[in-house]
């Protein structure tokens, strides 16, 4: 299995646009995943009976093969980017929901009571006390969800999308390893870079953690 280096040189434009499209799909999924999980996690954190149900539901969704989710979405959103993003979002929910709930759980009751005693309203407490304190655990979830989404985007190549995943089906059909190797390497690089950026973001977002160190 040899790499055709000239192919890579000839395809820098294509590779760039596929990488951008790949990243866009993964990040959109994490974004929408957060948008859905944050309120759900607050509900699961406060309403005990719903907690098991919501976490259980997200776990069940996780057991469904991603390709099946994409295909089952076809009658609804067709061969579009929307299908890819919805499918990926479903998968991010497991990690994001669980970590956000655990993050909220980890906030000491005393802290919340102190906020209450000072007359802070519940919503304000949530936004200014609970969520910031839960941030490290939530960010851990965001990091896993991001890496997972980046790795999963390629499955959408079976419905004509999939960013770098298109290099896999292409290489497969033509018995041509170069695009496949390039696709795998770029996916891994994307994941590493995205993860590093998130670590940096977390550093910026949690200044109180730095002082301690």
């Amino acid at each position: 299995m040899t790499i055709d280096w000239s192919w890579i040189g000839d395809h820098t434009d294509d590779l760039t646009s596929l990488t951008v499209s790949h990243l866009q799909a993964a990040l959109s999924a994490v974004f929408f995943g957060l948008l859905i999980s944050l309120p759900l996690a607050v509900v699961a954190h406060r309403v005990r009976p719903l907690r098991g149900f919501l976490l259980g539901l997200s776990n069940v969704l996780f057991t469904i093969p991603s390709i099946a989710i994409f295909v089952l979405l076809l009658p609804i959103s067709g061969l579009t980017r929307t299908t890819t993003v919805i499918g990926l979002t479903v998968y991010t929910l497991v990690v994001l929901l669980r970590n956000t709930v655990e993050g909220l759980d980890s906030v000491p009751t005393k802290t919340k009571e102190a906020a209450k005693a000072m007359g802070t309203r519940p919503l304000r407490t949530l936004l200014t006390v609970e969520l910031p304190l839960a941030l490290p655990v939530i960010m851990a979830g965001v990091r896993i969800a991001t890496v997972m989404s980046i790795s999963l985007v390629s499955v959408a190549t079976y419905i004509g999308d999939g960013g770098l995943g298109q290099l896999f089906t292409d290489g497969f059909q033509r018995d041509f390893p170069t695009p496949v190797i390039v696709g795998v390497v770029l996916t891994l690089l994307l994941a590493v870079v995205a993860d590093a950026l998130l670590v940096g973001l977390q550093y910026v977002l949690t200044p109180w953690k730095r002082r301690r160190a």
């Binding site: 069940v60 057991t63 093969p65 009658p75 890496v147 790795s151 985007v153 079976y158 290099l167 390893p177």
Partner: protein, 220 residues
């Protein structure tokens, strides 16, 4: 949507659908075979690795980073790559599934080991226990809950992903998903997906029960 689920009921309960080489019974067996073999091999690689790193404390940085690297590996790409290298065989499927499962097992085993209170380990050594005795009689039992979490996570991922075997001409429940896609037969796709989910959940519950049994055994 209602129509789809009604047809799913028919699909799942028809006797003809269960029989033969393309029947549910056969595909289910294949799927279990792929998933269990891959998870066992992954456990055989990941458990010792995680235990060793956790016990000695050496190579942790490398192992954890490799594991998160592994989590980013696109399964489709890996399957195709091994296929192009090895031709029409089961290798692409097994290698991709094992690569998928090893990271969860290593990281959770390692996490379980590091969570063991150093004082307890010191106490065990103080009582004259040797390295391997500390590992197997103290650390391992205490790390077991997290180790089991890792195994369960790995198994769920492998069962869901074993669908990919169908992409490179093999069987398993993925056959229904990929064939259903090609034929735009959504009932078949949904049927395959539901069966995969059921297999994953049943196996997970099985491991959970095993875990509970192991604990009772230890505390008794």
């Amino acid at each position: 949507m209602f129509e789809l689920f009604k047809n799913l009921g028919k699909w799942l309960t028809s006797g003809a659908q269960w029989a033969g080489s393309d029947g549910i019974a056969h595909r289910l067996t294949e799927h279990l075979q792929y998933s269990l073999i891959a998870t066992l091999v992954a456990a055989a690689i990941g458990l010792p690795l995680g235990l060793l790193i956790g016990h000695t404390g050496r190579g942790a940085f490398l192992a954890i980073n490799l594991a998160s690297f592994g989590r980013a590996l696109p399964t489709v790409g890996l399957v195709v790559l091994v296929f192009l290298a090895s031709g029409l065989s089961m290798w692409p499927v097994y290698i991709a599934l094992v690569a998928l499962a090893v990271p969860s097992i290593v990281t959770n085993t390692y996490a379980g080991m590091t969570a063991v209170d150093p004082d307890i380990k010191d106490a065990a050594r103080g009582q004259g226990m040797r390295g391997h005795q500390v590992l197997f009689q103290v650390e391992l039992p205490l790390a077991l809950p997290l180790i089991m979490t890792g195994l369960r996570l790995a198994l769920i991922q492998v069962v869901a992903t074993a669908t990919i075997a169908a992409y490179v001409s093999f069987g398993g429940l993925g056959r229904y998903v990929f064939d259903g896609l090609a034929q735009r037969d959504l009932v078949q796709v949904l049927g395959g997906a539901v069966l995969v989910a059921v297999v994953a959940i049943v196996l997970d519950l099985g491991l959970a029960t095993l875990q509970r049994f192991l604990f009772r055994h230890r505390t008794a």
